[in-house]
């Protein structure tokens, strides 16, 4: 299988195997004009198997979303065939409209057009809490 290298664009590496389509949808990569390549189940010396997404265009990425979905992802920025920046992700301090509060007693369950906001309260155990009702959300 032959996938061309990215000349100017972004390579999302070390995506947990099977999660590439989730990220594709979250980042709305179907809306961009240039080539997007998704590689699934590639061999990884670090994780055994991994997915990779190559985007043939520089776009603004929501690192909060990416960090939440998979904090092991490496973001490689490529310009004129050269790697100019490598970013390792981590769980973001806050999440806005990424996850929905499931507490039926929370104001977010009834108030229209409200931002669902969570804050990271325990990085080690990957626990977020709703800023409105303090309901716990554990990252799987």
């Amino acid at each position: 299988m032959n996938i061309d290298g990215v000349k100017t664009g972004i390579v999302l590496d070390h995506i947990k195997a099977g999660k590439s389509m989730t990220i594709y949808k979250l980042l709305r990569l179907d809306k961009i004009d240039n080539t997007v390549a998704i590689i699934q189940n590639a061999t990884s010396s670090k994780y055994g198997r991994k997915d990779i997404i190559k985007i043939d265009q520089l776009i603004d990425l929501d690192f909060n979303v990416l960090g939440y979905v998979d904090s092991n992802i490496t973001v490689n920025i490529v310009e004129d065939g050269k790697l100019v920046r490598k970013k390792h992700l981590e769980l973001p301090e806050t999440l806005d409209n990424v996850i929905i509060c499931k507490n039926p007693r929370c104001i977010t369950s009834v108030e229209q057009e409200i931002t669902h906001s969570f804050r990271l309260t325990d990085r080690e155990n990957k626990i977020y809490r709703c800023v409105y009702c303090d309901a716990e959300h554990k990252v799987k």
């Binding site: 007693r105 929370c106 104001i107 108030e111 229209q112 409200i114 409105y132 009702c133």
Partner: protein, 309 residues
Amino acid sequence: MSEIRNLINITDFTVEEIDELIDVANDIVENHSEYEDICNHKKLGTLFFEPSTRTRLSFEAAMLELGGSVLGFSEAGSSSAAKGESVSDTIQTVGCYVDIIAMRHPKEGAPIVGAKRTTVPIINAGDGGHFHPTQTLTDLLTISRKKGRLNNMTIGLCGDLKFGRTVHSLIEAMLRYEGIKFVLISPEELQVPDYVKASMDKAGAEWVEVESLEDAMPELDILYMTRIQRERFFNEEDYVRLKDSYILDLDKLSNAKEDLTIMHPLPRVNEISTEVDDDPRACYFFQALCGKHIRMALILKLLGIKREA
């Protein structure tokens, strides 16, 4: 222009700010006439999307005693919420008419939504089972007046410690003071949640869980009673077995300290026998009075009004 302050959770205020509120509440009693017109032309909006007796009336009495006026509603059915208006829109609208808002809402976090949409201070008068910070301020003022301190004491909390928001808030507030020991008296089914235990451990507080109120009684300086609700039990047998163990009567008080302070956030159903009401250690109606004084102090603080020296 100074930053708008709200009270959503008790931890929004520092220990020093709570001390300051207690001082003002005591000064209000000592120099009542100095405060009679201090909020002249100021308006308090009481937005109660669910019913309340003590909290709403004490807020209204507090503002009226400060010389201000009050407008609002006492149930969602008599507001535009019944037509489907959002909390955001209601608060933004009312914020145009009043200088400060006290709101109670059945949904958790509703005051946070409100505070984002207005420039007048918001006081959380209870948001579902989440927070009830003015009850906690009331409890702190009551303890301070009865004991002359907020540190170095053993506090027994009795009844439904799992779902009781007043219990969780009081523990959270008292953890900031030195030398507090908590005796948590409840059936196994209604023990305090793990996250509250984790908070106590993190703060280095001493705490113990027991089932017998009589056994715990002799060491208590404060006894904070709450109601046990039948609907919280999985089976009727357990409820029947336990319900009477936590009804406080004079017999159970026989081995209590002479200077015990008995508190209850009210309303009570039958968990404190009426024969206890005349015991000098019963402080729950005094607690209700403290609720008015601390709310007066709170309104002044959030409006940035001080008595002239």
